[in-house]
């Protein structure tokens, strides 16, 4: 790994930490001391392995392998693990654009079974992602590849606007991605 890469990882780890603190401090009072926002580590990845066997899970994504590649490739990434006490409720990854003017969220997942924060994981993730975007000086947040109209409707309620790509929701060969965005 190059020294510049290590330096970026170190600098942005500090920004991730600060952004998570800012987001945590901005959560409604009922969450204080109950929810913790952390980075993704071996502990959270080990917990996420249990998600693989759930029949309620809607996606086939291996967090450990995927995160390891993603984190190595993108030192300026956004990452989040949402915990309620000792229960992992959600994981999320994203990254800034080359010039840093916007942050994109690539993948977010809520614990598929018995999640005590069901209905709140995506809300918390939005707040934390917007916190990181603001901390790195980005002025736009993008949510990449919304898979259906329900999801577009969901994020629209939080001020996000849909931009259609070159193809439809399910097209695997779209040339220009579709996404939701919000100016911050």
């Amino acid at each position: 790994m190059q020294a510049t890469h290590l330096d970026a990882e170190r600098r942005y780890e500090q920004l991730r930490l600060e952004a998570r603190k800012l987001a945590e401090a901005s959560l409604p009072p009922k969450y204080k001391g109950v929810i913790s926002l952390k980075g993704i580590d071996s502990h959270s990845l080990a917990r996420a392995k249990a998600w693989k066997v759930s029949d309620k899970r809607q996606v086939d994504w291996e967090w450990t392998a995927g995160y390891n590649v993603y984190s190595l490739r993108y030192p300026k990434r956004f990452e989040l693990a949402i915990w309620k006490s000792d229960i992992l409720c959600g994981l999320s990854i994203g990254r800034p654009s080359y010039n840093g003017s916007r942050l994109r969220i690539d993948f977010v997942e809520r614990a598929p079974d018995n999640c005590p924060l069901r209905g709140q994981v995506m809300q918390i993730n939005l707040l934390a992602a917007e916190a990181y975007a603001l901390r790195i000086g980005a002025d736009e947040l993008r949510i990449m590849h919304p898979s259906n109209q329900e999801l577009v409707n969901y994020y629209s309620r939080y001020g996000y606007k849909y931009v259609k790509g070159t193809m439809g929701f399910d097209d695997a060969h779209e040339q220009k991605p579709h996404y939701l965005y919000k100016r911050l």
């Binding site: 993603y70 490739r73 707040l127 309620r157």
Partner: protein, 60 residues
């Protein structure tokens, strides 16, 4: 306190205020049970979305 540190603290304070307002908006109606189980397409997370004129090295 140096000018650099002072401006950084001011920046943090500004972000905190903005986030508190945003938090009120997001959580205004309580839990949202239309929440999706996941968002995004894992097969496309390494694809770039940079606009023309930007280099395709997002986040590096």
């Amino acid at each position: 306190m140096t000018e650099k540190h002072k401006s950084n603290n001011e920046r943090l304070k500004e972000i905190q205020e903005k986030l508190k307002k945003r938090s009120e908006e997001i959580f205004e109606n309580g839990p949202d049970f239309d929440e999706p189980q996941h968002t995004g397409d894992p097969s496309k997370i390494f694809e770039d979305d940079d606009e023309p004129g930007e280099e395709s090295k997002s986040g590096k």
